[in-house]
């Protein structure tokens, strides 16, 4: 078992408050006992099963399907192909915003990638539907597939990631390189990766006239409503989504995908509730992935090890029919000070499903390359990697010159290094062995992730019985939204957690935006905080205007809400309970609302990021090149820590993802057919428990008064950044071999 107990006391405990407490998951018992209902656990009466048939080619056309054979199979109710699929109200290839991705929903016979849905079989049982799909025996007209970053001409995309520019270049990089006394240039490859959430994409859809009720895991219910409404020609308000629990999303459930649309379509066609669940291998195509990258880093330093130039170029791939450009080079925007920085991107179109946001999009592969390159540069300068990073510490954001809203990275370096024992590290490679003769290496990486906010809303109610209610359509992907938001809700209402009811996870509640970009807690937390402030203000107005209240006339001084009572700010001894105020006013309940969104003024004045430092120890078998991570210490500063237990868990999860990135994960594509060759969890390796070492995550104290009222930055993705590079650097330190191709498999280590 990994050692998951960190000795430090949790940061930011507000005494007597809910925020800052290490509360356990509110839904933990439900999940552990199986009582929690995930989407596919819902079986409404009359429900039938849909199974997709997917393409085994990556480019061409479906010319025939043996629909008769499938239909003849006992239990099969309907076979939906491009011939009989209902035409949708909107072209699924239409795109009116960058978050609208083109979907393959049987509107034609074209095949654009392997595992694209080409038919759906609906049957009484899962078995019959599965057999029916197998009986379709598709025939194709096949065109030559384009796979890999060199298979097509590249282009400079108009935008990368969520819409940022493809290139930025403050300062003169060439002049900086020319002036440098030490230079490095290296190219790093990262592979295509698939999200592989434990829970596959699933939907249970039921129509009642023109209203639609669905159970599906969603990281963004309101956006899903909008997309479904457009395609099926019904108002968004007619769509009711339940998504109380997700078995992981990692970005692949941010937008509703083609297979889910097919479940909805099937339900409409057969006039019964339909359940459609993807098989694991069907998740390698229509539901997004992280594209491969090839990144070239160039750096120069002066005689003291200070950067004179930093250039980061990323080549990546997107699909032939849509654009998502992994913004890998942007990882160099926020970390290291340099008078000249240039980042740029190019892309090729290949025959895959469209790539998509995947946990730390851009930052994950970008950080792996950048942190490796920084290590190489430090070595070229003859400097310790930590000293080199401190030498190039950015006091203002390198790209924009803006001050940071807060930045406790120095403390992260210091606390992480101390805990890890970095000071004892020999500078040269291949210096350390354990008792068994295994090579030992230590490496580090810096972690950074922007503190983003989207928009979300919440509603708060205070009731005459002294209890409160907060509602918001937030999304719990396993990160702990149920728990953290209930904690924020209790504080927002000035109530104990036990007296605060919290509702979430359905689309009829206030739109909470999207759980992505590590921004959900900050965004929805601000909405809840605002809703609480709003309802408390209304309550205070009631009390202060009432001569019978001890708070009468407190108007100018104001009140403090705490423990279910309002206190006069200038005389806390004078107070009254919420229940008494409402009872006397003869009101059953009062309601407030709040919105969370980034503050444009603060955003233009400050650069906002969470930071961290990750230290890794690896052991490498000298004969086999087999790498084991034996120790990971991460120290992260991300503003207010709403729940230290959950936050640690996010850091652990991110760091484990980093282990996966560095050593295990890669999709193997067949260059002849364009098919993924390892679309299952036996062959697509992610770390198993035994691969996960002793992990520590240190929560470094940080107060940020600019990001949002609660001072919350994000913690969901930062753990990956820094970690993959730290492990790569530790492998170099153990062996003296620099592998620039991820994952660092033993053949790459031995062949180098």
């Amino acid at each position: 078992m990994p050692d998951t107990n960190s000795p430090q006391a949790p940061a930011h405990i507000r005494m007597g408050s809910s925020i800052g407490q290490p509360a356990t998951r509110r839904e933990g018992v439900q999940k552990a006992t199986g009582a929690a209902r995930f989407a596919a656990d819902n079986h409404p009466p009359g429900m039938v099963h849909a199974v997709m048939a997917v393409s085994s080619i990556s480019r061409g056309r479906v010319v025939s399907l043996d629909v008769a054979a499938a239909k003849a199979h006992p239990g099969v109710i309907e076979v939906i192909t491009s011939e009989n699929a209902p035409k949708l109200a909107q072209d699924p290839d239409a795109k009116d915003n960058p978050f609208m991705f083109r979907l393959d929903v049987l509107q034609n016979d074209r095949v654009r990638y392997a595992n694209q849905p080409i038919a759906v079989v609906v049957a009484d049982t899962l078995e019959a539907a599965t057999e029916g799909a197998a009986l379709l025996r598709p025939k194709y007209e096949t065109e030559a597939t384009r796979m890999g970053l060199d298979s097509a001409d590249s282009f400079v995309p108009p935008a990368v990631g969520a819409g940022g520019p493809a290139g930025e270049s403050p300062g003169d990089v060439e002049a900086g390189m020319a002036a440098a006394s030490v230079r490095m240039e290296a190219t790093y490859d990262t592979p295509a990766q698939y999200h592989n959430a434990m829970e596959p994409h699933a939907i249970v859809a039921a129509w009642d006239g023109d209203t639609l009720s669905i159970d599906t895991p969603s990281q963004g219910m309101a956006m899903a409503q909008g997309r479904i409404a457009g395609l099926f020609g019904i108002p968004p308000g007619n769509i009711h989504i339940r998504s109380p629990f997700l078995g992981g999303g990692f970005g692949s459930k941010g937008l509703v995908k083609g297979p889910q649309m097919l479940g909805i379509m099937a339900a409409r066609l057969v006039g019964r509730p339909v359940k459609l669940v993807l098989r694991r291998e069907q998740m390698y195509g229509p539901v997004g992935h992280r594209a491969a990258t090839r990144q070239t880093l160039r750096m120069g330093t002066d005689g003291n090890g200070a950067l004179t130039a930093l250039s980061h170029h990323a080549k990546t791939a997107t699909s032939t029919f849509d654009d998502f450009i992994e913004p890998a080079a942007n990882a160099s925007h926020a970390l290291y000070a340099s008078p000249a920085i240039a980042t740029s991107h190019e892309a090729v179109r290949i025959d895959t499903g469209t790539p998509l946001f995947m946990r730390a999009p851009g930052e994950a592969p970008g950080s792996a390359a950048l942190e490796s390159a920084i290590d190489e540069m430090a070595l070229a300068c003859g400097m310790d990697p930590l000293a080199f990073r401190l030498k190039n510490y950015a006091e203002t954001e390198p790209m924009s010159g803006k001050p940071f809203s807060s930045k406790a990275l120095r403390q992260c370096y210091q606390q992480g290094a101390e805990r890890f024992g970095w000071a004892g590290r020999p500078q040269a490679a291949r210096q350390m062995r354990d008792d068994a003769g295994t090579l030992v290496g230590w490496g580090m990486g810096t972690a950074v992730f922007p503190a983003l906010m989207f928009q979300g809303h919440a509603r708060a109610v205070l009731r005459r019985d002294g209890t409160g209610l907060v509602e918001t359509g937030a999304h719990d992907m396993g990160q702990g939204a149920w728990t953290a938001f209930a904690q924020i809700a209790a504080d927002a209402l000035g109530l104990d957690a036990e007296r605060t009811e919290f509702h979430s996870g359905t689309s009829d509640l206030p739109d909470a935006g999207i759980a992505g970009g590590s921004a959900h807690t900050a965004t929805v937390g601000a909405a809840i905080d605002g809703a609480g402030a709003d309802v408390i203000a209304k309550l205070a107005e009631l009390a202060m205007a009432d001569q019978r209240s001890p708070l009468f006339g407190a108007g100018n001084a104001g009140v403090i809400a705490r423990g279910g009572r309002l206190h006069r700010r200038d005389d806390e001894g004078r107070s009254e309970s919420y229940a008494d105020i409402l009872a006397r006013a003869g009101v059953a309940e009062i309601e407030g609302s709040g919105t969370g969104a980034a503050d444009p003024a603060a955003q233009s004045a400050y650069a906002m990021h969470a930071h961290g430092a990750v230290f890794a120890e690896v052991k490498v078998d000298p004969d086999f090149g087999q790498v084991r991570v034996t120790r990971l210490v991460g120290a992260f500063a991300a503003g207010t820590i709403v729940n230290p237990r959950l936050v640690r868990s996010q850091y652990y999860g991110g760091m484990i993802w980093g282990v996966s990135f560095a050593l295990h994960e890669h999709a193997v594509m067949d260059r002849r057919t364009g098919r993924p060759m390892n679309p299952n969890l036996a062959d697509y390796h992610v770390p198993v428990n035994a691969d996960v070492p002793s992990i520590e995550a240190i929560l470094v104290e940080e107060r940020d008064v600019h990001v949002n009222a609660l001072g919350i930055k994000g913690v969901g993705e930062i753990g990956i950044t820094g970690t993959a590079g730290a492990i790569a650097n530790a492998v170099w330190h153990a062996t003296g071999v620099r592998v620039r191709r991820f994952p660092i498999t033993l053949d790459r280590l031995l062949d180098a």
Partner: protein
């Protein structure tokens, strides 16, 4: 197409069923290979014959002569048998490497052997232990050394109507022990890139008097490496003997290139693993704790 299931309660009933059946009959022990193949459509049997109701096919009996291990005995039971673990630690550690805790609850030695994967973990250890498979069939019983069961990937020497009832292991001589090591890129839940098993018997002076060496995943079947055994017999496993063992192990390899490992890498690993397994086996035979792998 229909699939039927039978669970006979005697050997005779089982043999009659196997010989009388038309179409493809598959024998079921733990099902951790068979059911996966069934679901993926790789095998399409007409009849599945579950052996687990046949008396004696589950469980381990320790006798004066040695051990009898029921063919369908799951890894979890093998792992908890203290007598077997003391006598044949290589078999126990190999059987317990198979899969996860869940898989261990079902996976058997007979299934691991008769699935006939070149990478099956327990097979090299069974070969070096000198295990004998008791095969039953229409012509009665026969005793077959384990190394003669598998004849190629997915193919065994069992005739139609035959199945394995149990495995016999002799009582080990004094100062005997064994070890199994496998190489996989991650730490667990993976298929061997190479596996190596070694069994040794030492004399009172610590000289190896008897040895068997077997390799997995480096050829179409598991290999009994006679030259490897000869390389260390008569030695105390000094560096020269280890080098000869390494060379002998590499010499017999005839592996494939695949996504788990290249030919060159597999050959190299085979030599190193054979050395390491021999070192552990000797330490165990000397009654020393065998911890280090390098």
């Amino acid at each position: 197409m229909s699939l039927s299931y039978a669970s006979p309660t005697t050997v005779n009933e089982a043999v009659a069923l196997l010989t009388g059946a038309t179409g493809l009959t598959k024998i079921l022990s733990g099902g951790t290979d068979l059911l996966v193949q069934l679901r993926s459509g790789r095998v399409k049997p007409d009849i599945i014959m579950d052996t687990k109701k046949i008396p004696g096919i589950l469980g381990i009996i320790e006798t004066e002569a040695g051990f009898v291990i029921g063919a369908a005995t799951p890894g979890a039971v093998i792992g908890e048998h203290a007598g077997l673990a003391a006598a044949y630690p290589g078999i126990v550690e190999a059987a317990n490497l198979i899969g996860s805790t869940q898989v261990q609850g079902r996976a058997s030695l007979a299934g691991n052997l008769c699935n006939a994967s070149p990478a099956a973990d327990s097979v090299p250890a069974m070969i070096t232990a000198g295990a004998i498979a008791i095969v039953v069939g229409p012509n009665g019983q026969r005793a077959v050394p384990v190394e003669q069961i598998v004849i190629g990937p997915g193919r065994t020497s069992l005739a139609r109507g035959e199945f394995i009832l149990e495995f016999k292991l002799p009582k080990p001589a004094a100062r005997s022990s064994g070890a199994y090591l496998r190489f996989i890129p991650r730490t667990e839940m993976d298929i061997a890139v190479v596996g190596a098993a070694v069994n040794v018997t030492l004399d009172a002076a610590g000289v190896i008097t008897h040895a068997r060496v077997s390799l997995g995943a480096v050829a179409p079947t598991q290999l009994l490496v006679v030259d490897g055994a000869n390389a260390i017999i008569g030695s105390k496993l000094d560096d020269a003997a280890l080098a000869k063992l390494d060379a002998a192990a590499r010499a017999v390899c005839n592996p494939i290139d695949d996504k788990r490992g290249t030919i060159d890498f597999r050959i190299k690993v085979a030599g190193v693993l054979a050395r390491r397994a021999a070192a552990i086996a000797v330490q165990r035979a000397l009654g020393q704790a065998a911890g280090t792998k390098h």
